[in-house]
């Protein structure tokens, strides 16, 4: 009897063990799919939808090199034209406000802070790989999707866990639920991926804040990969142009 129990327990442990391993590998594969291009550039349309369905639209152009250099420049609405941010390695970020004609370095220690009126927090926008950010557990499969539980590695994260569904064949995320520290589901993200050249591109990300009933649609278009962007593109001087 005792032996059977032991056997059972060890089997369960083994299964869990293999699943954990699987999850780690899945995260690695996801990182490969999402962060393998040398650089990318394109345009972004950000649609903010409030609980009454009212929309606000912003447009921006962006350039990115590797994982940790990113330039973001708003073009619309007119009042925000030229507002730019430059993200550099080690959490260094600059902000440029054209009406003031000067840039300021921004340091945000508040990960759960929302980014400029969207439903994305600084944490969501962080240019860090899945492997760096989360510990994963494979919960199971749903059709052609893998269901993963992701626990943030940083204690400063605004989330207690994420449940994400990943395309089994191509390893891009399709759907993610975000849970707060109290265990309540607070946000949902839906992704539409499209292959551009050899890379999978998150054409549309729709993030909904369930508490506020507010949605942000991030639409990427005119995307070009590996155009050979120079490091010079990501300097404070460039930010002001």
């Amino acid at each position: 009897m005792k032996r059977i129990k032991l056997l059972l327990i060890s089997t369960v442990l083994m299964v869990q063990g293999t699943m954990a391993q699987d999850a780690g590998e899945i995260l690695k594969k996801m990182d490969e799919v999402l962060y393998s291009s040398k650089d990318m550039m394109g345009k972004n349309r950000i649609v903010l939808i409030d609980k009454n369905g009212k929309e606000k639209i912003r447009e921006a152009i962006f350039k990115q090199k590797g994982n940790d250099k990113r330039l973001f420049r708003f073009t619309k609405p007119a009042s925000q034209d030229g507002i730019s941010t430059l993200s550099l390695p080690n959490d260094v970020m600059y902000l440029y406000l054209p009406s003031f004609g000067k840039e300021r370095r921004i340091s945000s220690g508040v990960k759960s802070q929302k980014f400029a009126g969207t439903d994305f927090t600084y944490e969501d926008m962080e240019a860090k790989t899945f492997v760096e950010k989360y510990t994963g557990t494979l919960l199971g499969e749903e059709g052609d999707l893998l269901v993963l539980e992701l626990i943030p590695k940083s204690p400063k994260s605004g989330y207690s866990k994420l449940i994400t569904k990943v395309n089994k064949e191509h390893y891009y995320p399709v759907y993610t639920e975000y849970y707060d520290k109290g265990g309540n589901k607070i946000k949902i993200a839906k992704y539409t991926f499209k292959k551009i050249g050899k890379y999978w591109n998150s054409e549309v990300i729709e993030m909904t804040d369930l508490k506020k009933n507010h949605t942000t649609k991030m639409i990427m278009y005119d995307v070009k990969y590996d155009t050979g962007l120079n490091d010079d593109e990501f300097t404070v001087r460039k930010l002001k142009q």
Binding site: S79, F100, K102, S107, A116, G182
Partner: protein, 772 residues
């Protein structure tokens, strides 16, 4: 009348079945009756100040803001900060809570030499634990208006954790859950719960508590009085059953018409027990006094005599309650007036139909109906010997002295009338040890009050002129000694401007404002300060005094600024609790006057009609008007202020107290016709009606005095004052009124002996007597 009485007796089983059926129906309705603890919903929509306050409070979430105050000797200690974090985490994990602001969860945008640092005031994962860190935190907190006096008290002993909820969330449930969860943390610091949602949760408990606690007491008190009056089970049970049914009907009617039980109307049962049982008492009393062997005949005789006086007593009482509709400021008081009047009507109807029906239906089983007569005579003999006989003796010996004594009493109390204070402060409605009041006192002491003040700006919220005007207004406001904090989007823009290296001020160019705005967008605090369309914004502030004059001065002070600066491009309006209180304060006097005037006019008409003479109608009001004068004097001397509830005492006292005078005058006229002698007539009147009046005064007063056990101070005062008025108008009806009647009749009879006088003279004489 007799025919109706016979019909009632004939259809007694029908009546009983119908009453039971209706009671079952309303009993089911009663289960639908909801408690409405939202005091804001009672502010009248036809008052622009109140309406604006409700709208702005809702639109910008100010009315939904709950606060937890943590008090200790010094909050800048690691363990205290950890407790703040514990509370913050507890709040954040409760569904329906939208935002939480506390020391451990508050944004700190710092302009450093190298740039902007967007961070938290305290890193909740690295709470300061060295003296240096704690000192630095203290320095930082006291350097910024955003924190000092806003979330940390000036003396560093108290800190606030503020939360808001979502529109569709059940604010009371959340408040309850928060209280329970935080209490169960068992923190060593003192914890207080403040703000409207917390108060509403408290009020809801008070409403339940009042009902559970007071109903048994009033039943017991009235049963005791009934025992002493009737000494029979029937004499106790019938009045209680009839008023109980009237209460079920009246309260059952409320949900049918979409009304909810408020902090005032939860006392309808108490009042209806006091008022309503009196009608049945009269009916039973009359049946007992009718010496008929046949119970049926006794009931018919009694009913045909008593139905009219009871109806009159009911109608005058109803007038007192109905006058609230025209006089009261708060909707909940109007509702209370309406449903108490309806309940009074039910009690009357039941007392003249259901009671006699039941008496006859049950009489078959009762073999000897009146074994208690001797005992009753004994107990009322006490009244006759020691109270009524002396009264009627003194009446004739010292008629003038009685009059003079009353006049002196009234003159003394009139002095008190000028000392009457008015109170509109809702905090004072709660008893001193009530948690809501204690919490509000802490808010008052530590954070300069919790009375919300909103200054609303209509215009382009991104225009430099509007934002500058907001800043100017804030400076202007803070010159008032009761205003310590003020915040608006203009402050945030000024701070961001500073962070961009251009100083703490509103930029002159709109483009700069728009770009600074970009940085603020999506912050939780923005929805509390500006609307989505950016054409409306508010300055949020708090006012620290509950004194009516301070509030009126403040409103005038702000209105002056508004008059000078409001224009078509940017309109400014002031609202908030001080504005509402100022309106309420003004309306108190008007309420008192209109409610009293309406009650008085209606009563004069009705009593005039009853007594078939305007002058007798006037006589009838003499005792009660004197009582009201004394009542106001009493309020002045004792410091019981005129508030939303006590403002109604005069009308209620008028409605109930006038009955005693009606009894005396009717009986006296009746006796005069019989005896043709003032002395004899008055003796009979005092000895017979006096008894009924004294028993009635005692039972109604005792019923109202039960309100002294209420959780609400205005209702305690209301009960005390109505009881006092009952004694006053009873005493007036037994001494002052007879004195006036004796003098009036003496003069009249003298004149009638000399010349024939036209009837009109009577009125003139009456006037002279009153004036003298």
């Amino acid at each position: 009348m007799e025919k109706i009485a016979e019909l009632i007796i004939k259809g007694r089983w029908g009546i009983i079945v119908a009453v039971v059926a209706v009671t079952v129906f309303f009993g089911f309705q009663l289960t639908e009756l909801k408690i409405n603890a939202d005091i804001m919903s009672s502010l009248p929509d036809d008052d622009p100040a109140a309406l604006l306050y409700k709208d702005i409070g809702k639109e910008f979430g100010g009315n939904d803001m709950g606060m937890i105050a943590l008090e200790t000797d010094n909050i800048f200690k690691t363990e205290v900060l950890q407790h703040v974090k514990q509370i913050t985490d507890t709040l954040r994990s409760i569904p329906g809570v939208s935002t939480v602001t506390s020391l451990t969860d508050i944004l700190d945008i710092r302009g450093e030499e190298w740039g902007i640092e967007i961070t938290r005031l305290i890193d909740e994962y690295d709470i300061p634990d060295t003296k240096e860190e704690l000192d630095k935190l203290r320095e930082r907190v006291f350097a910024k208006d955003m924190y000092r006096g806003a979330i940390v008290s000036e003396d560093a002993t108290t800190t606030l954790i503020i939360y808001t909820t979502f529109d569709d969330a059940d604010k009371q449930d959340i408040a309850k859950e928060i209280k329970e969860n935080i209490t169960s943390l068992n923190l060593p610091e003192k914890v207080y719960f403040a703000g409207l949602p917390m108060m509403m949760n408290d009020v809801s408990d008070l409403i339940r508590l009042d009902i559970i606690k007071l109903i048994p007491i009033v039943v017991l008190v009235i049963a005791t009085i009934l025992w002493f009056s009737f000494r029979s089970v029937r004499g106790i049970v019938l009045p209680l059953i009839t008023s109980g049914i009237a209460i079920i009907w009246a309260l059952g009617l409320m949900p049918l018409f979409g009304y909810e039980l408020t902090i005032i109307s939860n006392n309808i049962p108490i009042i209806l027990f006091a008022v309503g049982s009196a009608y049945t008492i009269h009916v039973i009393n009359r049946i007992n006094y009718t010496f008929e062997r046949d119970k049926r005949k006794a009931v018919i005789t009694a009913l045909s005599y008593i139905a009219v006086p009871v109806f009159l007593a009911a109608i005058t009482t109803m007038i007192g309650f109905v006058s609230f509709i025209f006089g009261a400021y708060l909707l909940m008081i109007k509702d209370f007036g309406v449903f108490t009047a309806i309940g009074t009507f039910f009690a009357f109807i039941l007392s003249v139909t259901f009671t006699p029906a039941l008496v006859v239906a049950l009489s078959g089983k009762e073999k000897s109906p009146k074994t208690h007569d001797n005992e009753e005579n004994l107990s009322t003999d006490f009244l006759s010997k020691h109270v009524l006989t002396p009264i009627q003796r003194v009446l004739f010996k010292h008629t003038n002295y009685i009059l003079v004594a009353w006049i002196i009493l009234i003159l003394i109390t009139i002095g008190g009338i000028f000392m009457i204070k008015r109170s509109v402060n809702m905090q004072k409605y709660f008893k001193k040890n009530n948690p809501t009041r204690v919490a509000e006192d802490v808010m008052q002491r530590k954070f300069g009050g919790s009375q919300p003040v909103y200054i609303v700006f209509y215009g382009d919220m991104q225009s430099p002129e509007v934002l500058q005007l907001m800043i100017d207004m804030e400076h202007y406001m803070k010159k008032n000694r009761f205003v310590t904090t003020a915040k608006s989007v203009a402050d945030l823009i000024s701070q961001m401007n500073d962070v961009m290296g251009e100083g703490v001020k509103v930029p002159k160019e709109k483009a700069k404002i728009e770009q600074l705005w970009f940085l603020l967008e999506g912050q939780d605090i923005m929805t509390q300060l500006v609307n989505d369309d950016l054409d409306k914004g508010i300055i949020q502030s708090r006012f620290g005094s509950y004194d009516s004059k301070d509030m009126a001065d403040f409103v005038n002070y702000i209105d002056k600024f508004i008059a000078e600066h409001s224009n078509a491009d940017h309109r400014i309006e002031l609202t908030g609790l001080p504005s509402v209180y100022v309106r309420m304060d003004k309306s108190l006097f008007d309420s008192q006057m209109s409610s009293l005037a309406i009650a008085l006019v209606l009563l004069l008409v009705i009593v005039g009609l009853i007594l078939r003479s305007f002058s007798r109608g006037l006589y009838a009001t003499i005792p009660i008007i004197s009582t009201i004068a004394i009542l106001f004097g009493f309020m002045g001397y004792t410091g019981i202020s005129l508030d939303v509830a006590t403002v109604l005492v005069a009308s209620v006292a008028l409605g109930i107290g006038i009955d005693y005078s009606i009894h005396i005058i009717t009986h006296f006229n009746h006796a005069m016709n019989k005896h043709k002698d003032i002395k004899e007539a008055m003796k009979e009147t005092i000895m017979m009606s006096g008894k009924a009046i004294i028993i009635n005064v005692l039972s109604v007063a005792a019923g109202f005095l039960v309100l002294l056990f209420s959780q609400m101070v205005p209702l305690q005062n209301f009960g005390l004052l109505v009881a006092l008025s009952m004694f006053g108008s009873g005493a007036g009806a037994l001494t002052l009124l007879p004195a006036v009647l004796i003098l009036a009749n003496r003069k009249e009879s003298k004149k009638q002996n000399t010349i024939h006088q036209p009837l009109k003279r009577e009125k003139n004489e009456a006037h002279k007597i009153i004036v003298n």
